[in-house]
Symmetry: C2
């Protein structure tokens, strides 16, 4: 018994939850890129560095899973970050298929100000919310994600 909030004959893009999510994400990306611009690091690059920094990902394959990106894209993302000197590849001896990733000193030095930038953007765009509203907001998003995952698992 699925709901029928939207129907083909009355569909208006401005009322679409998909459109609104897209608009919100667009604003977040714009603000984050503007905030990060002085460092020369883009938002996608920052996400990668952060996953390594917080030890959520040790290898390129880990990163692909964390960010839901293709492994081929990730290879080239790591190429760019290595070229910029923020990341280092180290061939694993335990499993010679793997290449471990490490932040360089330069990469580690970036992190504190970058985390602050992201936190500032989020807080700014949540102006006027109270804690209960934010919790509800997050629960709505999690429910949408869970619905999608449940359907895909079928």
């Amino acid at each position: 018994m699925k709901p029928t909030f939207y129907s083909a004959d009355s569909y208006v893009i401005g009322d679409s939850i998909g459109f609104l999510i897209g608009q919100a994400q667009l604003r977040l990306h714009d603000a984050l890129n503007a905030e990060l611009a002085p460092t020369g690091i883009s938002w996608p690059q920052w996400k990668v560095l952060m996953h390594v920094y917080y030890k959520r990902a040790e290898t390129a394959a880990d990163l692909s899973r964390c960010t839901a990106n293709d492994t081929g894209s990730m290879t080239r993302m790591v190429d760019r970050l290595e070229e910029k000197g923020f990341l280092r590849r180290v061939r694993s001896e335990a499993d010679r298929r793997q290449v471990k990733l490490e932040l360089t000193d330069a990469g580690r030095a970036l992190m504190p100000t970058m985390v602050q930038a992201v936190v500032d953007v989020l807080n700014n765009q949540l102006e006027g919310f109270d804690q209960a509203e934010l919790d509800l907001f997050k629960s709505f998003l999690r429910r949408m994600v869970a619905n999608a995952d449940a359907r895909k698992a079928e």
Copy 2:
């Protein structure tokens, strides 16, 4: 007086509203692309066709404004859709800078089933929501967008 829901020392990506919005949008895009795959039209392409179909955009510049994309990207998007035979360029006589866009018969024929596909995906991912929750959800997203736009206008 901005809120401090997030702080640099306690930032956890899985709790970030930005991360959750990204996850939700990722699921929408995946589902939409899967739904549209049989037609050979991608989600970005569908958005363009839809804006033309609903007369929200008559020219490439209109489309760029509607979709918040670059005009250079839009030129090439229109190239691809014209090559596929779903869209036609017609030089405007009234303003010779402009190129008016028209759906071909093939393009128009695609629309009804495409609209239905999008509607189905949205309804599926909103399973378990009631109308009041959906309205609240949309208002949260609109408030985030409004905050971002207010800040940018300053």
